[in-house]
């Protein structure tokens, strides 16, 4: 057992209102620079839709993630040694037009235009060439356009949804959409780390944050291709790749990352998960139909004595173990099993989990009416507007059963709360719901509470970085012992 601690996240999609506050908070802090304008370390997509960069999920185009070849797990793009042949030109790498050409506006013209009969306008100016451009796309160009042929219909997750269901979802009355906020998944088996020829991309041992050393990056760009979520970006000015760093300077001081802190809908949760690093290889290369279960199996119970003992042996601080026990992510992912990873089939073992969106889950229309009765407990799920197979393609590696289980639990919580607050549902129905989902009234109340009521401190349980050891984040104090004191770089040894 090699127990490590991972900062993991849960996004509750039912609560996301698609306001992009997270994206802006991130942009203002990290990527408002030349060469980084086009990067959105945090972005919010409309689903069904093609996302950003366009069709990022289609690995036939972008060759991201891992692929199982016999018993071996291989990078889809090219691992050792063929990756080195892609340094000169990598045909699978997304280019600027797959994201968008960043632009600004010619504001000066509003003031300096000569007097005339027309109102002066501020034209769009490319931030790359400085020329006027016609803007053809942007990071959220598909906002709320999930019913359109360009975006909704080109969503790759519809590939194995029946033609009938596909047609149905694009009928005006049945259109549906939800938002999908995305950041770096800080995977347990990151493909970007594995693909970097320079060894610049690494996973931080203490908290599992995946970072790119700007000193070591040599612009070989394989991380951009290898990341199946397209969350590693190439800075075209500095010639270095950059990615979400989970606001680690904020994490180290116990604050939530900017995107999470600013989230208006309070959809985001962050906490510690303990996992067994020895199992990564085995679980990541499991058979296709076990992917989603294996990924959830790797996380350990932080209350188990054995796990605690092993964790301490591995140097994990008591405060981190305590944080793991209080972790809201552990509750969502392991205790209640209502949060699932996005596209686990890429086999990178992402650390970001989503509570799938339940609404609109209204049943099929009959005679112009929605089926909103409670007569058939799960009818709304079976007949939901958004095909279960579609959600399964996003969140459970294509297994609809898994999604249905989660949906039933979420529905049960609602039935229960309706019973408590309105009291117009039969006890027998509630009991049936509890029986078939395995939830209890107490658990349902806790889920309800954590979903809707809790404040900052319970949504973000961040273990201290131990201020007393803060200098050790930079250097080993022991190396300085007996020299010139902390803070002095020069030793006391005589030179001349």
């Amino acid at each position: 057992m090699d127990i490590r601690s991972q900062i993991a996240m849960v996004f509750h999609l039912d609560k996301c209102i698609g306001c992009h506050t997270c994206s802006i908070a991130c942009k203002n802090i990290w990527t408002d620079r030349k060469g980084a304008e086009y990067m959105w370390w945090n972005n919010v997509e409309t689903k069904p839709g093609t996302g950003y960069p366009t069709k990022w999920e289609d690995q036939k185009i972008y060759k991201g993630g891992w692929v199982k070849n016999g018993d071996k797990l291989e990078l889809r793009v090219a691992g050792k040694p063929t990756g080195l042949t892609k340094l000169y030109h990598n045909p699978d790498m997304p280019v600027m037009d797959d994201y968008y050409e960043p632009w600004t506006y010619d504001y000066d013209h509003l003031f300096e235009a000569p007097a005339g009969t027309d109102q002066p306008t501020a034209r769009t100016i490319s931030l790359v060439t400085g020329d006027p451009i016609d803007v053809k796309g942007g990071p959220n160009w598909d906002d709320d356009l999930s019913g359109t042929p360009d975006y909704g219909r080109n969503d790759i997750n519809f590939n194995n949804v029946s033609a009938e269901d596909q047609e149905a979802i694009f009928q005006l009355e049945r259109m549906t959409m939800h938002y999908l906020p995305r950041i770096c998944n800080h995977c347990l088996n990151p493909a970007c780390v594995a693909a970097c020829p320079s060894g610049a991309v690494y996973k931080r041992g203490e908290d599992g944050v995946v970072l790119i050393s700007q000193e070591k990056c040599r612009a070989w760009r394989l991380c951009v291709t290898a990341c199946p979520y397209k969350k590693s970006y190439y800075n075209w000015t500095s010639g270095k790749s950059e990615k979400c760093l989970l606001c680690y300077p904020r994490l180290e001081t116990g604050q939530a990352p900017a995107c999470m802190h600013s989230c208006v809908g309070r959809i985001r949760y962050l906490g510690v998960l303990l996992y067994d690093a020895d199992k990564i290889k085995e679980y990541a290369s499991c058979p296709e139909n076990q992917i989603i279960d294996r990924q959830l199996d790797i996380y350990l119970n932080p209350f188990s004595d054995k796990v605690i003992k092993e964790a301490k042996k591995n140097g994990i601080a008591d405060s981190t173990i305590e944080a793991a026990q209080k972790s809201p992510v552990y509750k969502f992912v392991k205790e209640w099993k209502i949060a699932l990873p996005l596209h686990a089939e890429f086999r990178t073992m992402p650390s970001l989990f989503y509570v799938p969106p339940m609404l609109p889950v209204m049943g099929k229309m009959t005679n112009g009416l929605y089926d909103s009765t409670t007569e058939n407990l799960w009818g709304k799920i079976e007949e939901s507007r958004l095909p279960m197979q579609y959600l399964a393609n996003l969140f459970s590696a294509g297994k609809p059963d898994k999604i249905k289980e989660v949906m039933k639990k979420l529905m049960t919580v609602r039935y229960h709360r309706r019973k408590v607050t309105v009291n117009d549902i039969d006890d027998s129905l509630i009991d049936e719901a509890f029986n078939s989902t395995g939830l209890t009234a107490d658990v349902a109340d806790t889920i309800y509470r954590l979903t809707s009521l809790v404040k900052y401190d319970e949504r973000f349980v961040i273990p201290a970085a131990h201020r007393e050891e803060a200098i050790e984040m930079i250097e080993s104090t022991d190396d300085r012992k007996g020299s010139a004191g902390f803070g002095e770089k020069l030793g006391t040894r005589r030179v001349f």
Partner: protein
């Protein structure tokens, strides 16, 4: 006089600048050592430009290196007519590949406006010097034919004399101007390395071939410290 300056002084200056400059650049401005890929801004033309150019130039470099270090191999290869023709055709083919690739790259730099914002002055210098180098190389191949035969007897002694600190330019002085220009511009190119993006070939990531796929870095690896007999951490992790 001018010959001894360009064929003795310049090479030593270039090699000195290359050695010291590269070390200093890597040590103190290591951040700036990158390939500065522009594929993100333009990919289609780069495919032809970069692939052809790099394939050609790497093979030519290896060919020159083998000719210099192991002239015996080339001499024995070229002793038969068929071997001679094979070596010459291969060399010329890679030369043409390099040239075509380079022309692609230069045209791409000129016609793709997005690239203007990432093209530095030194990039232009590099393009010009490499273009001169490749063109003189091709001209030598055409006008001073069977270079694979005379390289060993005419230029290897000169190059060797440079590296053993006993410069002797008697043979190369009598060579044609083209050959001299080709040699001089090669040394200029070597001297330019620390000041340009040419640095990227020094950091070619060969280490990737034997490293583990996954890389974890601890700021302070408690486990390693506990396992170590030395109470001190020893080698500190290198990160940002």
């Amino acid at each position: 006089m001018i010959d001894s300056f360009l064929l003795i002084g310049l090479p030593y200056a270039a090699i000195f600048i290359f050695l010291i400059g590269s070390i200093l650049r890597y040590r103190f401005y290591g951040y700036s050592v990158t390939s500065h890929s522009s594929q993100f801004l333009e990919s289609d033309m780069l495919f032809w430009g970069s692939r052809l150019f790099h394939l050609g130039i790497v093979m030519l470099f290896l060919g020159h290196l083998i000719g210099f270090l192991m002239p015996g191999i080339i001499i024995s290869l070229t002793s038969s007519t068929s071997g001679l023709i094979m070596v010459e055709v291969m060399a010329l083919a890679f030369g043409v590949l390099t040239f075509v690739g380079l022309v692609f790259l230069i045209i791409r730099r000129i016609i793709v406006k997005r690239l203007y914002s990432v093209t530095s002055k030194m990039d232009i210098v590099v393009y010009l010097v490499i273009l001169f180098q490749v063109v003189t190389g091709l001209m030598v191949a055409y006008y001073n034919r069977w270079g694979s035969v005379w390289f060993a007897s005419a230029l290897v002694p000169y190059l060797r004399s440079i590296f053993i600190f006993a410069p002797d330019i008697s043979v190369i002085s009598s060579m044609s101007l083209l050959v001299k220009l080709h040699a001089i511009s090669a040394f200029v190119l070597v001297g330019l390395i620390p000041f340009t993006r040419l640095m990227h070939f020094l950091v070619w990531p060969v280490y990737y071939l034997w490293r583990n796929y996954q890389l974890d870095i601890w700021n302070r690896d408690q486990k390693a410290m506990r396992a170590s007999k030395n109470t001190r951490e020893g080698v500190k992790p290198v990160n940002n």
